[in-house]
Symmetry: C2
Subunit: 370 residues, 2 copies
């Protein structure tokens, strides 16, 4: 049998599916595209057993009911290296896939699809609609704080929490926590879904301007993004009760220009010692004095920044990298630090909240070593 498809159309489809192909795997079959033809529709799938991607397009085919696996990277690279041209795929019985174009002939081996794992299907009973840009924004503002440590698997992912208050995105690594809420996406019952890190990073790259549909299953969640069907296994763990660590009343409010503070903190990263990575904020009514020191190198730095602050004088220490991360992800000219004491969690918020959105970042201080 044979089928025909334009090289650029196929390249676009394969480029959407290839992110699910694992780089290293003990199961070589996963390094293939599962390729099916049924009813004149070509469907290409890939999976690493955690995430899977699938997309389809119409092709002109002389046969039907094809189901084979093709080396994914080789096929993708070949198609990508071609000019805009028509490719005729020929399949005979000898496990050779023959690609013919006006330029030449290319043979690659294919295998039967029997051993390719099943792609889980997610029930369409629970459906959510969200704009791709909105979902991307929520991911961009929260994903940096996912834990890199496997000790508590739930914290290595991003929590999607449907509540009566809105849809919450939560990440935390125990040192900092980010909570981003879309107030307009309300649910009648509270439900939690934890997406693995790899799903979040692949998803962020797939998202564009188009509206997407999310289907929520017990063990898997799936996203319909244009012609692409992305699904991922959920982390089957209980997310920590993060609400209890968020202080209700931090009465001392510091207001400061975000860019100024970020530039200062980045300079402090050059001076804070590689062990403690500590930066000290000495906050007073007329301004903040920010300082860092590397005793081993004998270097230190001190800068002053104007601010608005009405509370008591306070010396508080932070991890320089964490303050920098947090400031990078606040989407406003001004940033608020809500403080209670040098040993209690600090709340960081944009000076002005966007309509329907609620971003809150929590940062644990570090003990000052003086």
């Amino acid at each position: 049998m044979e089928f025909k498809v334009n090289s650029k159309v196929l390249e676009k489809l394969l480029s959407k599916i290839i992110p699910a192909v694992p780089n290293r795997t003990p199961m070589p079959i996963l390094e293939n595209f599962l390729t099916e033809i049924k009813g004149g529709i070509l469907t290409v799938c890939a999976t690493d057993l955690e995430i899977s991607l699938k997309s389809s397009l119409n092709v002109t085919s002389s046969g039907d009911n094809l189901r084979i696996v093709i080396p994914a990277r080789l096929l993708y690279e070949i198609v990508r290296s071609m000019d805009d041209t028509l490719i005729t795929f020929g399949i005979d019985g000898n496990s050779k896939l023959k690609l013919t174009t006006e330029k030449g002939v290319y043979n690659i081996s294919y295998s039967p699809a029997n051993e390719f794992p099943d792609i889980p299907t997610v029930s369409k009973s629970k459906e959510i609609s969200i704009n791709g840009k909105d979902l991307k924004k929520a991911i961009d503002q929260t994903s940096f704080a996912m834990s890199k440590e496997d000790m508590r698997p739930a914290m290595t992912g991003t929590l999607l929490e449907f509540t009566t208050e809105g849809l919450r995105f939560i990440t935390t690594d125990g040192h900092r926590l980010v909570r981003f809420i879309y107030r307009n996406i309300k649910a009648s019952a509270e439900e939690q879904y934890i997406l693995p890190e790899r799903a979040i990073s692949v998803l962020a790259k797939l998202l564009g301007e188009t509206d997407i549909k999310i289907y929520l299953g017990k063990s898997h969640i799936s996203f319909i993004i244009g012609e692409v069907d992305f699904s991922t296994r959920l982390i089957a763990e209980k997310y920590p009760a993060y609400g209890s660590v968020i202080p209700l009343e931090n009465e001392n409010i510091l207001k400061v220009k975000r860019h100024d503070l970020l530039a200062t903190v980045r300079r402090m990263m050059l001076f804070s010692s590689s062990n403690s990575k500590q930066v000290k904020f000495s906050i007073a009514k007329n301004g903040i004095t920010i300082s860092a020191e590397d005793i081993d190198l004998g270097s230190n730095a001190l800068e002053k920044i104007v601010c608005e602050y009405d509370g008591d004088k306070m010396d508080i220490g932070f991890n320089t990298q964490y303050v920098s991360d947090v400031l990078t992800h606040v989407d406003d000219e001004e940033v608020l630090f809500k403080l209670h004491s040098p040993t209690k969690a600090c709340i960081i918020e944009p000076g002005k909240k966007n309509d329907g959105e609620d971003l809150m970042l929590l940062l644990m201080p570090v003990r000052l070593n003086t």
Copy 2:
């Protein structure tokens, strides 16, 4: 004492010097900038004992005859992180360099310069002038063929050969050879200078549109590029007598569109086996058939390209990567392959030579495994 300098002016100067600071060195002193003030001029130097970079600028200084070493990367990163501002450098007796700006105060340790190695000075008796763009072009077209193997140190560098015929740039790794000649830069006597790979790669990044001066010494060569003085140790070896491998008469001329052939060869790279990396050119009067095969993967490819060719039919094999490299560096729409037989060196040249320039690439064929 103290001196003042604008942050952006200093950043620009340091960015030119930092490439000579080694990333890893058993001599920690080399991780510093040698910093001198004399007669109101600030001079900054760095060296890895092979290459060295030096540049100066006028500063307002309250003292003179300063000579210290300052941690290079730390100073560069600090200056780079600053906005456009005036920096006051204060030096007291306690080995602390104090930088003061309108924003803050930064202390870093400095050391006396006694142990910093001397930067070799190159006699100005032999001087050559060349435009920076021309020198960059010669480097860009030849540097890829320098040998990566230390067995024959001369071949790990680029040969600059002054001859009565012009200035030649030669590189070879034994499998391919590139010869680029500027016919307008003629010398009365033949002289050879071999520049190390690191010097070539740093030089390529420093070169712009401005004219440069080259000073030729016995053990070192120096380049004056605007305000920057770049010098490098020469490789003290005899360059192989490359002239003897260049065939004088390759009577079979193949003429082909460079972009078409390059695109085909790049596709063949996906099919040529990772062991042999072999691509086969079957050349006939009406066209070339180009093919590659990976027996382990069971994949193969074959393309046809139109060409002009008048010689006998010939099957000749090349290393796919090497043909691709060579085709990438021929600066013309059309490319000529001058052939003699499947076991003799092949000469590759642009279809049309630029005025005053002469580019020749030589490629050794590989034995066909059929």
